[in-house]
């Protein structure tokens, strides 16, 4: 290989099929496409929900009907036909299993392809899994050791049945049903998701981990996650995503709500690797996510995300720093290649005194992709001595991609100190040649340079996730520089 021509590049991309692009044919219980009040009621009924939950969903639906899909993001795509989506799909093999032996072997096969075979996961000390395939949780492990500490970690459907008082009290308090178009839609039709409650003063002894996965063709997925860390508790939560390859665009509109009470700390890490569409920009997941956390006094919420997948990403994990001395952090790596578009960032809303926030965003664009950082730092009138530091770095590969930064800063208190740093750089031929000369080929050189660029954020991920994330970065960018 003397040089890397356009043809080589094209060839490379052709052979680089989506790693997790398979489709498991599991007998499913799927609703007819379409959305109206009856469908919302049917979802609620299917999940055997109490009356208040059904009403809650219906109110969300009525609000959604009056809303319009937002267009301010720096992304262009053909808007989904919301009447052409099926709003419920659950594996038919019920009820839940006590052991893996009882699980549908085909399902286990799916897990294996994902590289998260339950056996392996069970052995992986310290990681409890709550696996969501399509919409219904099918396996939960490590439940016992969590039970001993009084930690609740289950599907949100189960929580609605078993812990209605907690769900009723907190759901929709951080992300109101009318917050935005997608959040309203999610509130009306959410299928499943995770629920977690950490009692006062408890330090969760293991990383809590959930794998979400879209499986059935033509079904959207609407997860709902509610995580409550009671006073002085601590939890680290991992969320990893893969989806099989489909030709039509798949809609994904999740809502995640975090509640960190006085002195509590929540660390929320995401690796998102959904199908980005093919090299021509056909197919791929639409990822419209609302993630937000609220910090009470002395609490801390830390978001870390590695976003490599999806055709279109619209996502702003945010922190409301309500309590005095509370801390919000956002660490992000967003990679776009081929025709991917990402508009992602965060909102740090400083309401309490001495609140602090840190934003580190690393955007990597390759191919014909567009990568935007959009962030809001808002300092309220009572937020004395609030402090923010933001750093937004963009790395460009090739000449056809774009990197954009949209920082918004609103300060209503004179004592605030806000810093914003931004850089844009391009992987240079000199850097590549330097690596080549030391015996490192171009692919590896890019991986090295990108990992170096992303290091500040990768370092924030829990160990087992960091390794996976590094691999993902390499896979996502293979063949992206000529």
């Amino acid at each position: 290989m003397t040089k890397y021509t356009e043809d080589d590049l094209r060839e490379e991309l052709k052979t680089k099929e989506y790693e997790y692009g398979f489709f498991t044919d599991i007998e499913s219980d799927t609703f007819e496409p379409g959305l109206n009040e009856d469908v919302v009621r049917a979802i609620s009924l299917k999940k055997e929900e109490p009356e208040w939950m059904t009403e809650w969903r219906l109110e969300a639906f009525r609000a959604w009907e009056k809303m319009i899909e937002p267009e301010w993001a720096n992304v262009t795509y053909e808007k989904p036909d919301f009447q052409a989506i099926s709003y419920y799909s659950a594996p038919n093999t019920k009820p839940k299993y006590d052991s893996l032996d009882e699980v549908d072997p085909q399902l286990l096969e799916t897990f294996k392809k994902l590289g998260i075979s339950m056996d392996e996961q069970k052995m992986l000390a310290g990681v409890a899994m709550d696996v969501v395939i399509d919409s219904v949780s099918v396996a939960t492990t490590f439940k016992k050791s969590l039970d001993e500490k009084g930690i609740i970690f289950c599907s949100i459907s189960e929580a609605i049945q078993k812990h209605p008082e907690l769900v009723k009290k907190y759901i929709g308090t951080v992300v109101p049903r009318t917050d935005n178009f997608y959040a309203a839609l999610n509130s009306a039709v959410f299928s499943d998701g995770s629920f977690c409650y950490i009692p006062k003063g408890v330090r969760c002894p293991m990383e809590l981990s959930t794998y979400f996965r879209i499986n059935q063709g033509g079904t959207g997925q609407f997860e709902r996650t509610l995580l409550i860390a009671d006073e002085d508790s601590y939890v680290s939560y991992l969320e990893g995503c893969t989806a099989p390859s489909r030709d039509e665009n798949q809609m994904h509109a999740a809502v995640v709500e975090l509640i960190a009470m006085d002195g509590a700390e929540i660390k929320y890490s995401t690796v998102q690797n959904w199908y980005p569409g093919n090299a021509e920009g056909k197919g791929g997941v639409f990822n419209f996510v609302t993630k937000r956390g609220i910090c009470e006094k002395n609490a801390k919420i830390s978001w870390t995300q590695v976003e490599t997948g999806s055709a279109v990403t619209w996502k702003y994990p945010s922190c409301i720093l309500k309590g005095d001395n509370s801390v919000g952090e956002f660490y992000s790596i967003a990679v776009t290649n081929n025709h991917q578009q990402a508009d992602t960032g965060t909102k740090m809303i400083h309401l309490g005194k001495n609140t602090r926030s840190t934003i580190i965003s690393k955007g990597i664009s390759a191919g014909k992709s567009q990568n935007s950082y959009r962030g809001l730092v808002q300092i309220g009138p009572r937020a004395e001595n609030a402090r923010n530091f933001s750093e937004c770095d963009s790395l460009l590969m090739g000449n056809d991609c774009g990197a954009h930064t949209f920082p918004y800063i609103e300060v209503k208190n004179k004592s605030a100190i806000i810093e914003h740093e931004a850089t844009t750089s391009k992987i240079g031929e000199d850097q590549i040649f330097y690596c080549n000369q030391r015996g490192i080929d171009t692919e590896k050189a890019i991986a090295l340079i990108v990992n170096g660029f992303s290091k500040e954020v990768l370092n924030k991920l829990p160990m087992e996730f960091a390794v996976e994330a590094q691999k993902l970065l390499e896979i996502s960018l293979e063949g992206s520089v000529g």
Binding site: Y434, C435, N436, Q437, G439, S454
Partner: protein, 250 residues
Amino acid sequence: MLKIIDLHASVEDKAILKGINLEINAGEVHAIMGPNGSGKSTLASVIAGKEDYEVTQGDILFEEESINELAPEERAHKGVFLSFQYPTEIPGVSVTNFMKTAINETRKARGLGDMPANEMLKMIREKSEMLEIDRKFLSRSLNEGFSGGEKKRNEIFQLAMLEPKLAILDETDSGLDIDALRIVASGVNKLRSDENAVIIITHYQRLLDHIVPDFVHVMFEGRIVKSGGKELAHELEEKGYDWIKDEVNA
């Protein structure tokens, strides 16, 4: 070890090298001198395989095989090392991590497994001591915020770690103070053996006082116009390049 035959190379259709002939045997040190713009650094880049340069005529043989068509990393795997005049920065990648990757990629190309961690550590310890490099330096991002002298010393550290057969030092002396020059030179001298060869590209005599060359070549307008022993370097230092130019033009 290295045989360059009638080498012509150009960049963007501009001819830079116009017929270089050079033969270097194992155990030898060759110095290439010459005025600015004579093509010295281009020659170094062409040997290393930089794609910006097009070889229009001639051949480069390394251990009797043509390397003209090989990618830069393949030449590196064969044992060609270039100490850069202007080493590039790679933010977030530590010197240690970079070295580890370079060594293991080279081993992989040679059909070997990764170097065991304890062996690598031992090697890093030895080589960094030899070049009087502070251990903290090795955890810093490659060349980022390095002083001119630190960059050059880091290049020689990499040379020591990779143990190439042919080392090309492209103006390694520029930006070095006298102490650093002495350390770098003594490092290169310790690495010299009957098995390897060194090409030193420089403007000045001073590095050659420390690393004594077997041969000195003078380049001018893309050709080697004069070759001699180490005394030629002294002559150049005294008289400058003008007399060479006059000789060529005469």
